[in-house]
């Protein structure tokens, strides 16, 4: 099974398309027509045209190579629709309807019927019980949620067990000015789950980091092995540390497993874990936009001591280390800036100054530093050391994270210059420190994980 037809279709059919605004068949169609390929409305009771395209009675009536069907029909009608999709050669379908495995025995039987139909024809199913997926760069908006069209393209693939969390993450990534390469809500995972999607997005050129929202899966080992096999870095947010079992079961038809096993397993298989949606996106930004860190040693450069202390504290609590800088680096910093407040680690410059970028460069070039984190409050007269930061991460082969605060309008130009230079920017000292700590933990895991690849093939 490949998910090419799902996430990179030539043409799309909307089954159960409706001309009535507010109905899921209308909203899904309204979003789907943004796609730059053909989109066909399918509904035997539909008349005339919808968004310029004539209704057809069945997917089997479409004279085009449709890859993907968006099923906006009630649960009970789904097995037949999937059967027809299979007959029409459609290889992928999104099932929005609920009332399947998450809803008791009868729902389970219905889901089995859908999977059986899909298996007969080799159809990949996203859902049921999902709000779908979005690939912003292709304007592939296979979600009925409003606002999907405003999600910017980025380089993080969001794979969430919950469609709701998938959307929440995507909207957050927009607010953070980042965007996603794809946003996927897995729902009940009838035959497309974590392993298949991780595998697909690992091979996706637009994706530089994969984030997972996990409630629980009965194939925990498969999930871990897919993560370890992925060359693209993966970060996970496992929900359910306290007992949310019954609620989660009613949600996606899966029991939440032993949280400790997930956390230990992810670490063992090279996947750092976080405890919040925004942490997940921050970690992804740090991993996606940076060279892989070689170790857990963070060099901090701060223009203000207070945020620097918050950062220093938090990095260490999160698993990072703050090594002493080499005497050469300290000397270099002293020469750049005599009377600098503190030249250990962090280097505290007191306030931003024209040579701030040189200080950052000196710390980045220290052999004992694996990751660099820079904090400065924005000063209009000074701006950001964009020139010094541009290309620095690639040159020294280390992640360089940047964190700041100030008046958004004043900073806008400098921030977009940093974004253009590929520097990950974080809004608070805590978020920057946490992202650096994830990089540090990731560095600690990458080694052993790589050495165990033989086991993954068992």
């Amino acid at each position: 099974m490949t998910l090419q037809q799902m996430f990179d279709p030539a043409a799309v059919a909307v089954v159960g398309a409706s001309a009535t605004e507010g109905k899921i068949g209308y909203e899904a169609m309204a979003n789907a027509v943004e796609f730059d390929g053909p989109v066909y409305p399918v509904n035997p009771s539909g008349e005339g045209r919808l968004f310029g395209e004539a209704f057809v009675d069945s997917v089997t009536d479409i004279e085009d190579d449709v890859d993907l069907a968006l099923c906006c029909v009630p649960g009970a009608a789904t097995p037949e629709v999937i059967e027809e999709c299979g007959a029409a050669g459609i290889g992928a379908a999104v099932i929005y309807a609920g009332g399947f495995a998450e809803a008791g025995e009868e729902g389970e039987r219905l889901q089995e019927a859908v999977v059986a139909a899909a298996d007969r024809h080799d159809v990949s199913l996203l859902g049921p019980n999902t709000s779908g997926f979005v690939v912003p760069e292709r304007d592939l908006l296979c979600s009925f949620a409003s606002g999907a069209e405003k999600l910017p393209a980025g380089n993080t693939a969001v794979i969430a067990q919950s469609g709701g969390v998938a959307h929440a993450l995507a909207f957050q990534s927009r607010r953070q000015g980042r965007g996603v390469s794809a946003m996927v809500g897995l729902g009940n995972r009838a035959n497309v789950g974590f392993t298949e999607t991780i595998d697909y997005f690992d091979g996706d050129d637009r994706t530089d980091a994969i984030v997972l929202h996990v409630e629980g899966t009965d194939d925990g080992r498969g999930l871990l092995e897919a993560c370890r096999a992925s060359e693209t870095p993966v970060v996970a947010y496992k929900v359910g540390q306290s007992d949310v079992g019954a609620f989660a079961e009613s949600h996606t038809g899966a029991l939440t497993g032993d949280h400790e096993l997930y956390t230990a397993g992810f670490a063992q298989y090279g996947v750092p874990t976080v405890d919040a949606t925004d942490d997940l996106l921050d970690a992804a930004a740090a991993l996606a936009d940076s060279p892989a860190p070689a170790g857990p040693n963070v060099g901090v450069v701060t223009a203000q001591a207070g945020p620097g202390i918050i950062i220093s504290d938090r990095i260490q609590r999160g698993g990072g280390r703050l090594p002493e800088l080499s005497s050469e680096t300290q000397q270099r910093v002293d020469e750049i800036l005599t009377g600098v407040t503190y030249t250990g680690n962090p280097v505290d410059t007191g306030r931003p100054m024209p040579a701030f970028g040189d200080v950052v460069t000196a710390v980045a070039e220290d052999d004992g530093v694996d990751i660099v984190l820079v904090y400065e409050l924005y000063e209009q007269a000074m701006g950001f050391p964009v020139e010094a930061l541009s290309g620095l991460a690639e040159r020294v082969g280390k992640p360089i994270l940047f964190s700041t605060d100030g008046i958004e309008e004043d900073m806008a130009d400098d921030l977009s210059a940093l974004a253009d230079a590929g520097v990950p920017v974080f809004e608070t000292p805590e978020r920057a420190a946490d992202a650096a700590a994830v990089l540090a933990r990731y560095a600690g895991m990458a080694g052993p994980a790589a050495g165990q690849e033989v086991v993954a093939d068992d």
């Binding site: 194939d219 080992r221 497993g257 397993g265 052993p448 165990q452």
Partner: protein, 248 residues
């Protein structure tokens, strides 16, 4: 008695191994256990005790008894026996209680270990429904439930990963030596952890509790073993090499 304790239990249609079978399984995989013998009469037990050397521990050995220390009002386990007379008394108590309960029982005679000479650690293996074989390491003894100081790994794991699991424990500081006590043999403990992971991976085992493992400067020794077999007999028996190699 067959060389393969798992096959022996299966042949009797049992899901639980006796302690002796469990220890044979561990020993066959290279985990150190105290010298022991399973005896059918008091005279055999005395002979075994003489050979092993006093003090010895006497335990009821029966597939019908899982919780030995709670069995028969304390008849199930007698520690610190230092004479032939002591052995006879303890063995007779075991046989009498077994007769009262109408069960078959033997006696396990085992070298007594000085538990104060080391730190008690739990090593457990489990077949998790979603992750398959996993291995757990934790602080043992009376503190297990109070501190819940455990670390988990998905099995199988290598020696380095087992070491990392041990070093995650808060109890790692106890093992490393404190107030001048000698550091425990963490390498030996790591070997036990990795081996338990292998045993659960390679055999149809639902649960394997080695509780406690006594870890000291001299090594790591398994003082008790509870093995529950997977009720799903479909688990690959051909993978059961570790069990097949058991031979003391």
């Amino acid at each position: 008695m067959t060389d393969d304790p798992i096959a022996a239990a299966r042949a009797d249609d049992r899901h639980t191994l006796t302690e002796a079978e469990g220890k044979r399984l561990l020993a066959g995989a290279g985990i150190e256990t105290p010298p022991f013998a399973v005896c059918e009469t008091a005279e055999e037990a005395v002979e075994a005790a003489e050979e092993i050397g006093y003090p010895v521990v006497l335990k009821v050995s029966s597939p019908s008894v899982t919780h030995k220390s709670e069995w028969g009002g304390g008849a199930g386990v007698t520690v610190g026996v230092t004479s032939a007379e002591g052995v006879r008394t303890a063995v007779e108590r075991i046989f009498e209680t077994a007769t009262e309960q109408d069960i078959d029982a033997d006696v396990l005679v085992e070298a007594a270990m000085d538990v104060d000479a080391g730190t008690e650690v739990i090593v457990g293996g489990l077949r998790d429904p979603s992750f398959g074989p996993v291995v757990l390491t934790g602080l043992g003894g009376v503190f297990t439930e109070v501190f819940e100081d455990t670390s988990h790994r998905i099995a199988p794991i290598d020696h380095a990963e087992a070491r990392a699991a041990i070093e995650e424990l808060q109890a790692a500081e106890l093992l490393a030596g404190y107030r001048g006590s000698e550091p425990a043999d963490i390498e030996a403990l790591a070997e036990v952890v990795a081996t338990v992971g292998d045993l659960v991976t390679d055999n149809p085992i639902a649960e394997l509790d080695v509780n406690p493992v006594l870890v000291s400067a001299d090594g790591a020794i398994a003082l008790d073993a509870l093995v529950v077999l997977d009720s799903d007999s479909a688990v690959d028996r051909e993978g059961g090499t570790a069990a097949a190699e058991v031979d003391r």
